[in-house]
Every structure is written in structure tokens, then in C-alpha cells.
């Protein structure tokens, strides 16, 4: 195979480079998985095969509660994100209104804000609000999972909108017009016509938000307070050498689950695209 883009020699060089980069990307992850089944420290030479780290991990209460906190935050944040994302996508694709470019810039700007700065901003906001509550009413809310979830909604929102708008754009407006002409209200049209067709895209957007939130460290590190989410817990425990094999074991499981979720999200996106091909007039 030699053509305009590459000579035979260049093709082999590019092929070798590709294989080299794949190895560079996957070997470190493979190392983690291998050591999660190794008895003894995370060093060579390997000792013998064991599943003790997995067994220890499922009996570690601090680790399990960190995982469940992250699961709660991720589910709550992704649900809110998808709801807000649908509203914003619908406005961007189906409506014309004054200030639309500014609205688009606003919803997409969390894509480029450094998470460090955003986490700090919310820390200042919540602390200031608590101070206000203390002074006026003698009470306060404090930091915690709610503040982490609020932050995650903001940063996940643009990804949700980027997932929903392409499909909404391709979904024929004639279907909604027909429903309207037949006497359906805007609400009915959404629930009976748009939502069923949009459902796979929503699932895909939900999963993207879910993985983003579950893995997010920078924002959570400022806002979690005394209830560490999984990444915050993981970061704190990395300094304890004896904990490392357990953490590696749990991380290996999360690695597999997140790859699985990504594949499901991708399949969902493709399914929804196929569904559209059928519904576009």
C-alpha cells in the first residue's frame, strides 16, 4: 500500500511509530493491573499471584465510603446536568432569541476555565455565603458533597450540550410541527415526540457527565470538606506506601468499568444516530 500520502518506507516508519505510541499509552496501565495481582510491594521482582488486595479493598470501610460518596455525587450531578443540558440545547437549536451568541459562549466557557481557579472560586463563594448565614441567622451549611455536585454540574454541562445538540439539529423539526398541528402542547410534544427520539443521546450525555464527575479531583479537593470523594481519598492515600497495592487494585476495577461505560456511551450515540436516519424526513 503505497500512495500519495506516504512512500513504502514512510508507511513502515509511521506504522512503527503508531505501535510505539500505543505501547507507551498502555504499558503503564498494564503495569498497574499486573501489580494489583502481585503479593508484596509495588516493586520488581514480582512475587506470586494473589487476589488479597481486592479482598482487602472490599473490606476497607474508608475506601468504600469514599467510593459511595463519589457514586452519589456523580449520579446527582449528572442527572441535574442532563436536565439543564436539554433545556440549554433546546434553546440553542430550536429557538431564536436576543443574546444567543453570548448564551452559547457562557455555557461553553467552563470547557476552558482552569479547574483550579473554578474550585477556588466556589470555595470562596460558599465560605462567604456561610459567613453571611452565620452573621445573619447564626447558622451555616458548610462544604460537602452538595458543593462538589454543584461544581461538577457547571463543568459537565458543556460536554452534555455538545452531545445533545448534534442530534437535536438533525431531528426533523417537521415531527414537532406535526405534533403541534395535531393539537399537542409544547410539553406534550417534548415528552411524546422529542424525548423518545432523544433518549439515547441523553443516556450518552449522562454517562459522559457521570465519568467526568466520578474522576474529578481538582474541584472536589477544595469543596469536599470533611467528606472526601474517591479521587480526593485516593490522592490523600497515595502517600501511604502500605495502602498502594489496594488502591491499585480498586483503580484497576474502575479502569475496566470506565472503559465499559465509554463503550456503552459510544454505542448509545451510534444507536441514536441510526434512529435519526429513520426519522429524518
Amino acid at each position: 500500500m503505497s500512495d500519495v500520502a506516504s512512500s513504502r518506507g514512510a508507511l513502515w516508519a509511521l506504522r512503527a511509530f503508531f505501535v510505539g505510541l500505543v505501547l507507551f499509552l498502555y504499558l503503564p496501565l498494564a503495569v498497574l493491573v499486573i501489580f494489583s495481582f502481585n503479593s508484596g510491594d509495588v516493586t520488581f521482582p514480582l512475587e506470586h499471584f494473589t487476589t488479597q488486595w481486592y479482598r482487602l479493598a472490599v473490606r476497607n470501610p474508608a475506601l468504600l465510603s469514599a467510593l459511595s460518596r463519589s457514586a452519589i455525587v456523580a449520579i446527582v450531578a449528572s442527572t441535574i446536568t442532563v436536565v439543564i443540558g436539554v433545556l440549554a440545547s433546546y434553546a440553542l437549536v430550536r429557538r431564536s432569541f436576543w443574546g444567543k451568541p453570548a448564551f452559547a459562549a457562557l455555557v461553553f466557557s467552563p470547557l476552558v476555565i482552569p479547574y483550579l481557579v473554578f474550585g477556588i472560586s466556589l470555595l470562596v463563594l460558599f465560605t462567604a455565603f456561610d459567613r453571611f448565614l452565620t452573621v445573619t441567622m447564626g447558622t451555616y451549611i458548610g462544604l460537602g458533597l452538595h458543593s462538589v455536585a454543584i461544581g461538577h454540574v457547571v463543568v459537565a454541562l458543556p460536554y452534555t450540550i455538545l452531545t445533545i445538540t448534534p442530534l437535536l439539529e438533525r431531528l426533523s423539526i417537521a415531527l414537532e410541527e406535526a405534533a403541534h398541528d395535531l393539537g399537542a402542547s409544547a410539553w406534550d410534544t417534548f415528552w411524546r415526540v422529542t424525548f423518545p427520539l432523544l433518549y439515547p443521546a441523553l443516556l450518552s450525555a449522562f454517562l459522559i457527565a457521570l465519568t467526568l464527575s466520578f474522576d474529578e479531583y481538582a474541584i472536589a479537593s477544595f469543596l469536599a470538606g470533611s467528606s472526601p470523594t474517591w479521587p480526593v481519598f485516593l490522592f490523600a492515600q497515595l502517600r501511604v506506601a502500605s495502602q498502594l497495592p489496594q488502591l491499585v487494585a480498586v483503580s484497576a476495577v474502575i479502569l475496566l468499568v470506565s472503559i465499559l461505560l465509554v463503550v456503552i456511551a459510544e454505542l448509545g450515540r451510534r444507536a441514536s444516530e441510526r434512529k435519526y436516519e429513520g426519522s429524518i424526513s
Partner: protein, 291 residues
């Protein structure tokens, strides 16, 4: 695009209300708070000075503060990382877009998939590999190349380690815009250049490369913007040599509890990123949402 029901401004307002409210309360106002905090217009901690002053700004920008120097160090590290990432990702994007006929999207997914796994996990992998008793060093001990008392110590807790890990983390992400740019290239242009007597190298330099530059610039921005505020990777593998501007900001808020000067640095960083996006943002559009 035309509204489905003309004149239904209430529906539009209803759609916009929640997103606008959420982003105003939890995005615009907090960022405004940082700006206000940096000049002492608001104060939260008991130790904050209760007067409005630009002293911290003055000290940061003009005074002999070490932090501006740290900022430039972060810029240098981010530049090296972003350029390395683009150089590594470009051949892969080129190979997949122009040389592979079958299964190119599957191969692209193979490259991108690591990006979708946990960030901390990928940094952790390198900590395990580069450590003084890590994979590389223990392998060297095992093969009797180095003695256990004398590990290769620059592998970890160094600027090198920070840059290596950041390159590792970002390569998969940047392969995407470069691939998209090259994949949408009209191949008949390359054939035309060949028919007109240009060899492959000349065709690449005069046709392919210029046309693929927007994708490469987008990739560069996608790496440069997040790494300039990076503070997690240096904490894990950077040691004292790898300490960056982001770590200084983090320390102001979590250790020194000097939120006012921390806000100065945080807002400065935000302003730099905003400026970069204003200059180069048009390259970085993931896709054009019709507005």
C-alpha cells in the same frame, strides 16, 4: 433557525431560566468574587485586611514576589509539554487519517481510550514506574545494573517527571483534532500536487501541513490551557523542582490561608487563559454550534 411556535417567548424564557440561573450563581458570581477578593472588596477570613487595596496586585506584578517567576516557569513547562504532545500526536493523526483504509475509527478509539480513564490513575501508574523503588529502578537493581542504594533519582520528583506525565496524559486527546483536520482533507489535492510534479515530501510541506495546521493549533491550545494551571501532577511526581504556579495558588488557599494574594494569582491565571482563548479560540472550536 425559526422558532416552532412564533411569538412563544415564554417557552424560550422557560428554557433559558434554569441554565442561566445555575451558571450565574455558580460560575459568573464566584469568578466575580475572586476578582473582588483580589482587591480586598470582599473578605471572608478573619485574617483578611478590611480595606480595598491593590497592594497584592502591585506586589505580584511589579514587586519582588517569586510568584511571577513561577508563572513563567509554568509557561515554559506548558510550552514544552504542548509542543511535545503535538509532535507525538501528529504522526499518529497523519497515519490514521491518510494511510489506514480499514478500521481507522477503531484504531483512533484505541489511542483515545486511555484519556477516558481516571486522570489520577494514570499519574499513579507513572509514580509506580518512576519511583526510587519503582518499576524501572527495581528492574535495574534486579538486573544488577544499579545497586539498590543508588537508584536513578532524577526519574521522579523532578521537572522531567512532571513533563513526561503531562505529555502521557494529553497525547490521546490531541490526536483527535489533528486526525479530524487531516481526515477532512480533500485527497485529490494531494494527487493534483503529485500530478504537477511535486514529490511526496514537497506535497506534505506545501499542501498537507499548511492545511492541517488549524487542527494542530487546536491541539496545542487544548493542552496548553489546562496544563498552565496544573497542580495535581506536580504534587504527585514533581517534588520541589516540579513546583509550579498552580501549586503556589493551591498553597495560598489550603496552607497559607492568604486568600487575597491567592485570588490575585488565580484571577491573573484566568485572565491569561481568557486572553489566549480570545486570540486562538477560533482554532479550538470542537464543533460549530449554530447560533
Amino acid at each position: 433557525m425559526v422558532a416552532v411556535e412564533p411569538g412563544s417567548r415564554r417557552v424560550t424564557a422557560g428554557l433559558l431560566a434554569t441554565p442561566l440561573l445555575w451558571l450565574t450563581l455558580f460560575f459568573l458570581i464566584p469568578v466575580g468574587f475572586i476578582a473582588a477578593y483580589s482587591i480586598g472588596a470582599i473578605h471572608v477570613l478573619p485574617t483578611d485586611p478590611k480595606v480595598i487595596s491593590f497592594e497584592d496586585w502591585h506586589h505580584f506584578l511589579i514587586g519582588d514576589s517569586i510568584y511571577l517567576g513561577l508563572f513563567w516557569k509554568s509557561v515554559r513547562v506548558s510550552l514544552v509539554v504542548s509542543i511535545s504532545v503535538v509532535l507525538l500526536a501528529y504522526p499518529v493523526g497523519y497515519f490514521l487519517a491518510l494511510c489506514v483504509k480499514k478500521r481507522k475509527y477503531v484504531l483512533l478509539l484505541v489511542i483515545i481510550a486511555p484519556f477516558l480513564t481516571s486522570y489520577l490513575l494514570r499519574v499513579l501508574a507513572w509514580k509506580v514506574i518512576l519511583g526510587n523503588r519503582g518499576v524501572i529502578n527495581s528492574l535495574l537493581f534486579d538486573l544488577h545494573i544499579r545497586s539498590p542504594g543508588d537508584p536513578v533519582s532524577w526519574l521522579i520528583y523532578s521537572q522531567f517527571a512532571v513533563m513526561l506525565v503531562l505529555v502521557y496524559v494529553w497525547v490521546p486527546f490531541v490526536a483527535l483534532p489533528i486526525f479530524v483536520g487531516l481526515d477532512s482533507l480533500d485527497r485529490s489535492l494531494l494527487e493534483a500536487a503529485g500530478d504537477l510534479g511535486a514529490n511526496r515530501w514537497r506535497t506534505f510541506l506545501r499542501v498537507t501541513l499548511p492545511l492541517s495546521l488549524p487542527g494542530a493549533v487546536a491541539g496545542f491550545i487544548f493542552v496548553f490551557v489546562p496544563t498552565i494551571g496544573e497542580f495535581v501532577t506536580p504534587q504527585l511526581v514533581g517534588g520541589t523542582n516540579g513546583f509550579l504556579f498552580g501549586n503556589a495558588i493551591n498553597d495560598r488557599f489550603t496552607k497559607a490561608l492568604d486568600w487575597q494574594s491567592g485570588s490575585v494569582m488565580a484571577f491573573f491565571l484566568l485572565a491569561v487563559v481568557a486572553l489566549l482563548m480570545a486570540l486562538f479560540g477560533r482554532f479550538a472550536q470542537v464543533r460549530n454550534v449554530r447560533t
